[in-house]
């Protein structure tokens, strides 16, 4: 009744339904409710304060929620509708490879046994799980052209760190104490952060006017104290380092090693292999290239792949096949950098990645690469009439524009990104890479259809027009989302990081 009627039959403003204004779960709570019944006890009950001792016994969990099952379902279902996902539409975040997450992957990862095996079961009962890890590693080695793989790193950043620790162990094993890792200025922020965590010092390497490694700069920077080079290829501008082999040769010539960030492998699978370029160690992101879901920011998985000379330094344990097809864990690795996390890695992500590779097969994966690169180049061709390309060099799987033209009218890349939401799209990656002023980094992946790309291009062209005619509309976007722009400055100045009873 409150929705219409009102005065003189005119439609009045409706009070938004709770689906648009779901409270915090703590605000839904009232004492005595529960959303799950605990199975009855089949042993005599105990008096907890007695068994644990008075000093250890906890009386209450202050403020903890008490809600029914349906309330939980509604709460999280409503919250989910406030999210944009790949399932909702195009998610062209550059460098994030937001491709379709096949549902069969979710089903097989939840199979009884695969989802329930404990990491400490005896090897004779773990052949199913160990076999999956071994097969995933084998596929990763084949795709990258490397000799050995560890699936232990929990995500890309940990893969980076693991690789850097191996580089360090390698040098020290040869009695060399080197100090620096070179990183091109276009690199992901994670790279220098990982270098610091490894105890090395990061040195930035200036890119040339094509956005690539400058060989003369590299030559100057490769001192006897330089442990190696950490680069992304294709780099974060979506450009393939044409001189990659020469780059690797020069690093090797000075006794350094080459680390490759495999974040952009979606541009290469089936086309070329880093192992053939001269790369010594690299990581992959199963949550990017191999379709495991991002899940709102994790879990990821960052396998690290190495050439033979670095194999002794891989994290412990490794999985090995004995002669008769039996898999076992090898903990006896004296030169290993050690463990980077408990157990053997994000097994559930390996299951999904393997299911992805099995679905495509070798030729299918090459088709994926071709489609991803074609999609990016199609966007590039259609958008370059309205937006300035950051670099002229050919694009692989992503293209980077600059907001130069729009910024002249006071509208920045971040504004254009917010306006895309009004057109029903997730924005591209904003303001990265840092070497491009006002960067707009777009990666459509192979999962975008031509029809979707056309709609996306139309939206960006329309926004470019709006910038000319009504810049304030773009600068104030988004206008159609449940919430408008959020005050991030206050959030950081006076952090409120948890709910408290009022």
């Amino acid at each position: 009744m409150s929705q219409s009627g009102g005065h003189n039959g005119r439609i009045t403003e409706a009070i938004p339904h709770i689906t648009r204004n779901e409270a915090l779960i703590f605000e839904r709570s009232s004492a005595g409710k529960t959303g799950a019944e605990v199975a009855p006890l089949d042993v005599p009950p105990v008096e907890a304060p007695e068994v644990l001792g008075k000093d250890f016994y906890r009386e209450d969990i202050d403020g903890f929620p008490e809600v029914s099952e349906l309330e939980v379902i509604r709460h999280f279902t409503r919250l989910s509708t406030w999210n944009y996902g790949i399932d909702t539409g195009l998610y062209p975040l550059g460098s994030c490879t937001m491709k379709y997450n096949p549902r069969i992957n979710e089903v097989v990862a939840r199979l009884d046994g695969l989802a329930t095996d404990h990491p400490y079961i005896p090897a004779r009962l773990a052949q199913g799980c160990l076999g999956i890890l071994a097969e995933t590693a084998r596929c990763v080695a084949e795709i990258t052209g490397m000799d050995a793989v560890s699936l232990q790193p929990a995500a890309g950043a940990q893969g980076e760190l693991t690789g850097l620790l191996m580089i360090r162990a390698y040098h020290e094993d040869r009695g060399e104490r080197r100090k620096y890792i070179l990183i091109p200025d276009s690199a992901h922020g994670t790279n220098p952060a990982s270098v610091t965590t490894s105890g090395y010092e990061a040195r930035s390497l200036k890119s040339n006017d094509r956005g690539c490694v400058d060989l003369a700069e590299l030559e100057r920077a490769m001192t006897p104290e330089t442990a190696g080079l950490m680069l992304t290829n294709p780099n974060t501008l979506g450009i393939f380092e044409e001189q990659i082999r020469e780059v690797c040769l020069r690093v090797h010539h000075r006794g350094g090693l080459v680390y490759m960030d495999g974040a952009n492998m979606n541009a290469l699978i089936g086309i070329a292999r880093p192992g053939d370029f001269g790369v010594d160690v690299m990581h992959l992101n199963l949550h990017k290239t191999f379709s495991t879901p991002h899940g709102g920011g994790g879990p990821g998985s960052g396998p690290v792949a190495v050439k033979r000379k670095l194999e002794p330094y891989l994290p412990t344990p490794t999985i090995e096949e004995t002669g008769d097809g039996f898999y076992k864990l090898n903990f006896d690795r004296p030169k290993s950098v050690g463990r980077v996390r408990a157990f053997y890695g994000n097994f559930g992500m390996a299951v999904r990645a393997l299911a992805y590779m099995l679905a495509y097969g070798a030729d299918g994966l090459r088709q994926v690469t071709e489609d991803a690169v074609l999609n990016a180049n199609y966007l590039r061709a259609r958008l370059s009439t309205a937006y300035d390309l950051a670099y002229d060099a050919p694009s692989m799987h992503e293209c980077v524009f600059s907001d130069r033209r729009q910024a002249a009218r006071g509208v920045r890349t971040g504004d254009i990104a917010k306006r895309l939401m009004d057109y029903g799209f997730h924005p591209y990656t904003v303001s990265f890479p840092l070497v491009v002023p006002g960067a707009m980094m777009i990666e459509p992946t192979e999962s975008a259809s031509k029809a979707e790309l056309d709609a996306f291009v139309d939206a960006l062209l329309a926004i470019a027009q709006e910038v000319k005619e009504h810049p304030e509309v773009v600068a104030g976007a988004p206008h159609s989302t449940r919430l408008s722009r959020l005050d991030e400055a206050t959030a950081a100045r006076k952090p409120i990081l948890r709910w408290k009873p009022s």
């Binding site: 005595g32 409710k33 529960t34 959303g35 605990v38 089949d42 009950p45 105990v46 644990l52 403020g63 929620p65 099952e69 379902i73 999280f76 919250l79 989910s80 944009y84 996902g85 790949i86 399932d87 998610y91 937001m98 009884d112 046994g113 695969l114 329930t116 404990h118 009962l125 999956i132 596929c139 084949e142 940990q158 610091t196 965590t197 010092e201 699978i269 086309i271 070329a272 709102g296 920011g297 994290p315 463990r339 980077v340 097994f347 679905a359 495509y360 097969g361 299918g364 690169v373 061709a381 975008a448 259809s449 031509k450 979707e452 989302t481 919430l483 959020l486 005050d487 991030e488 709910w499």
Partner: protein
């Protein structure tokens, strides 16, 4: 291929628009001599039905028909079906890190709730939105303590998970961290006297686990006092967080971290799991990991954003507080849903049941000849010393489709025939009865098999 949306005609049209004459031309910048000229040697392609069969086949070679008493930082608890139903919503499953808050409020609000739940359980003021797992969360806590205190020595309890200790050593190896280990006493707790001798003004943190690796609760207040006396941090790792429903939270600690896998995250052969890290408000700017904060939109409506991002790698690069850029959002969401479903009463009841079952099992197995070497109070996990070689006992249990525990000798060479046993609500009384019969039958069988001249012990039920 079923996942690819473009038709051959679409591809042709798009290629035309790029001005290239062939797909090959798109890769022109990859030098010819670096190109692959043959197909990769990979299995597949497989149809959906074949993929399902492939993994079902793998699942046949697992322990799925076994009852498991393995714990050691990974616990099998019942997972209400609601968790996977909600996790499977594409808006949660297929979203990226919530950098664009206007269209990510679902993830952001859920993570704000996760932070609140962890803070409530741990007795801390503030929690982050998750880290990789318990081992790396504990390592991040160590690095955080070193940053804040400016000290480099770290004291690890030998009663802490051996793999957590290994991870801390790996990270510390090149950062100048001096790692020392503090021994245990007969109670299965840390030796406070020996600890007192090694903590000094160079110590950044004393790192303990409670319940510890042996399931025993550590005297947190006393250890805190000892650490604080020297200006060191106390870090408490919690690997079985269900204990927090019934056991006093380690509120005297400076950082409480650990593993939230118990809360609705599958055991899954070691991961993905859900690390957490909680601390005091005054240390928040030195915390690693993503943080979600409450704020308002331009029209004054409540909303959530990722906040204090200037700590993070994508802004600070080499000066970041940590190189971690993912949390474990989906696992944190599973934990949030789990904790909301169970709620205060459900979680406490579940914890009481775990406590009762573990103590009943310990009693029953002791009654047939096993010893419980550690005297400290325990929650749902305990150590048992078997009168026969522990490996023989475990293999006999396996015959009964029971995974009877973890042989501690693997990590503690001095602990021969010591088993670490976890009893959750997933283990019923009947299983414990059968284990007790196996244990009791051993002496008899060994005797009778000697008489019969048989090599292997034969058990009867």
């Amino acid at each position: 291929m079923r996942y690819l949306p473009n038709s051959p005609e679409d591809r042709k049209e798009m290629l035309r628009a790029t001005g290239r004459s062939s797909i090959d031309e798109l890769f022109a910048q990859v030098p010819q001599d670096l190109r692959l000229h043959e197909s990769l040697q990979l299995p597949g392609p497989l149809s959906e039905a074949e993929i399902l069969e492939f993994f079902r086949e793998a699942a046949r070679a697992t322990s799925k028909d076994f009852v498991s008493l393995l714990g050691a930082g990974v616990y099998r608890h019942y997972r209400p079906v609601v968790i996977d139903e909600l996790l499977s919503r594409g808006e949660f499953l297929t979203a990226y890190t919530p950098y664009q808050p206007e269209i990510s409020q679902g993830t952001l609000q859920a993570l704000f709730e996760f932070q609140t739940l962890i803070a409530q359980l741990t007795g801390m003021e503030v929690a982050n939105s998750s880290l990789y797992d318990g081992s790396t969360a504990t390592n991040e806590a160590v690095l955080m303590a070193m940053r804040i205190t400016g000290r480099e020595q770290v004291l690890l309890a030998r009663t802490m998970h051996p793999e957590y200790r290994e991870v801390i050593k790996t990270y510390g190896r090149y950062l100048g961290t001096r790692v020392k280990e503090a021994p245990l006493q007969p109670s299965g707790q840390m030796d406070l006297h020996r600890l007192d001798c090694v903590v000094d003004e160079k110590t950044a943190a004393v790192v303990i686990q409670s319940p510890n690796f042996f399931g025993v609760l550590e005297p947190v207040s006393e250890i805190a006092e000892l650490a604080h006396k020297h200006g060191a941090f106390l870090i408490v790792a919690v690997a079985e967080p269900l204990s927090l429903a019934l056991v006093k939270p380690p509120a005297e600690a400076d950082i409480v971290c650990g593993e939230a896998q118990s809360f609705g995250v599958p055991v899954a052969f070691g991961g993905p799991y859900c690390g957490f890290l909680a601390t005091r408000d005054r240390f928040v700017r030195q915390m690693p990991g993503r943080l979600v904060g409450l704020t308002k939109d331009s029209q004054g409506r409540r909303g959530f954003v990722l906040t204090l991002v200037t700590r993070e790698q994508f802004i600070r690069r080499e000066k970041a507080t940590s190189n971690i850029c993912t949390s474990q959002t989906l696992c944190a969401l599973a934990a949030t849903i789990y904790l909301c479903l169970l709620g205060k009463q459900g979680l406490r009841k579940l914890a009481r049941n775990n406590l009762a079952k573990a103590h009943d099992a310990a009693r029953e197995l002791q009654a047939v000849g096993a010893k419980r070497p550690f005297t400290g109070p325990f929650f749902n996990e305990f150590v048992l010393e078997t009168p026969m070689p522990a490996g023989d006992f475990l293999r006999a249990c396996e015959e009964e489709k029971i995974l009877g525990g973890l042989e501690l000798e693997r990590f503690y060479p001095e602990m021969k025939n010591h088993l670490l046993i976890a009893v959750t609500e997933m283990v019923n009384k009947e299983t414990i009865d059968r284990m007790a019969r196996v244990l009791a039958g051993f002496g008899v069988d060994a005797h009778s098999s000697r008489l019969n001249g048989a090599a292997a012990p034969v058990r009867s039920h």
